[in-house]
């Protein structure tokens, strides 16, 4: 009973003041890296993520190319200063695994068969982390992918769900993830069809808990999707407003 009160207070608020189905504040910027074909910077609570997409390009090494479709190279990396104790900079087991499952999520949405024999490189760098970085990375990478103009069925949107102190909640922070009974379910969906493209589970949950996690997770993902949509459209909206005033200004100067 003591544990339950520690993670959710009597007003239904969590330790950082959020309610159970509330996502941390998200900020997305599109097109931040001029050298990349598409890029994105995302802040999700304390998480800070840079994503860059290069491609489609000629596949190197050649023997990895597939003559029927493009291949996706997804690289998830954490900066050595992104965690409280310094992380060794070489890719670890965890990073290799996340890169693999996230790359496979993209294979589900990109029209790969339009670019046979090529590679699409996705580089994601985590600068600061506080739980839920793999879904933040996936969310940022899919915005960068859209910014690169790569044809996709849909935009991937991810969100963490889980359980801490006996309560099902969305978007757990590091403190909640470290709870003794914590369950962590990172998931990513395609918002238009609710198809799940990434789902992992760490911890023990009953069938009912798991089902409520999935339905809460889908709702949370849709909230994140609105932010992605807004960011992508914003890129083209700002010059539109500026240039509306341009002809009048020009006349005034004459």
């Amino acid at each position: 009973m003591d544990e339950k009160t520690a993670y959710v207070d009597k007003h239904g608020k969590r330790t950082d003041g959020r309610v159970l189905n509330e996502v941390r504040p998200i900020k997305i910027e599109v097109g931040v890296i001029p050298e990349a074909d598409g890029s994105c910077y995302l802040e999700w609570g304390q998480n800070k993520v840079f994503a860059a997409v290069y491609g489609p390009n000629e596949c190197i090494p050649k023997h990895m190319s597939d003559p029927t479709k493009a291949i996706i190279r997804y690289n998830y990396r954490m900066a050595s200063f992104s965690v409280p104790d310094r992380k060794r900079p070489q890719p670890g087991r965890r990073e290799v695994e996340i890169s693999k499952v996230s790359g496979e999520a993209f294979e589900k949405v990109v029209f790969l068969e339009r670019f046979p024999g090529t590679q699409i490189e996705v580089e994601v760098e985590i600068l600061d982390s506080n739980a839920g970085t793999r879904v933040a990375a996936l969310t940022a990478a899919s915005v960068a992918m859209a910014d690169a103009g790569i044809p996709m069925k849909d935009i991937i949107v991810g969100c963490g769900v889980g359980k801490a102190g006996g309560h099902v909640m969305v978007d757990l922070n590091k403190f909640e993830e470290d709870a003794p009974d914590a369950v962590d379910v990172p998931m990513a969906i395609l918002p238009s069809t609710d198809e799940i493209v990434l789902l992992q589970l760490d911890g023990l949950a009953t069938r009912e808990e798991f089902q409520s996690m999935i339905s809460e997770g889908i709702k949370a993902c849709k909230m994140v999707y609105e932010k992605q949509k807004e960011a992508l459209k914003q890129k083209y909206r700002i010059p539109a407003e500026e240039s509306m005033n341009l002809p009048e200004q020009g006349e005034g100067f004459e």
């Binding site: 000629e58 046979p116 859209a146 790569i150 069925k153 918002p191 238009s192 949509k229 010059p239 004459e254």
Partner: protein, 206 residues
Amino acid sequence: MSKRIVIPGEQVSEERKRLGSHVYLREGKICSDCVGLYNEESNVASVVPLEGKYIPLVGDTIIGIVESENYSGYHVDVNAVYPSFISKKDIREILKPKSVISARVDDVQENMEIKVSGPRVFAGGELFTVSPVRIPRVIGRDGSMLNVLREGTGASILVGRNGRVWAKGGNLDLLRRSLEKIESEAHLDNLTDRMTAFLGLAKKNN
């Protein structure tokens, strides 16, 4: 014209329309597959992409840079995803690496290699790069924008579909600024009118 910005996976139209480019069918609904502009009034459901690489089509005029020479021909960098090649059998002139040429896309082969023909070597001039998806705006309807640019800057201009613009003579600095303006405002209406005003104004200032 009522155009709106769509993102991948967004449903573009409720009605049944003929499918154009950059759309796909999902459960009978027409959806976009890229970030682009959708024209509501058109009777073809088609999205004009705002980002992307050059996808070669037969008949395109492109501007390439000769990369290397081998026994049978030349490899040319045409700013596309796939490599391109000119066979020595098809041409008489001798090309040199790093020379800038204009050519026509003859064939896109099954392995996606691009065959180009009819190379013409440029002497002098300057090369500008524009995003390939915005080249249609640089040309304009029936070349209207190109005429405005030629008139405004006094340069002789050749536009390649692969996102390269070659120009010689005239005010090339003005042309560079004009191309930057077109590129940043490619998603807006009445661009030709605005460019006419921009070039007219700039001319007076000079």
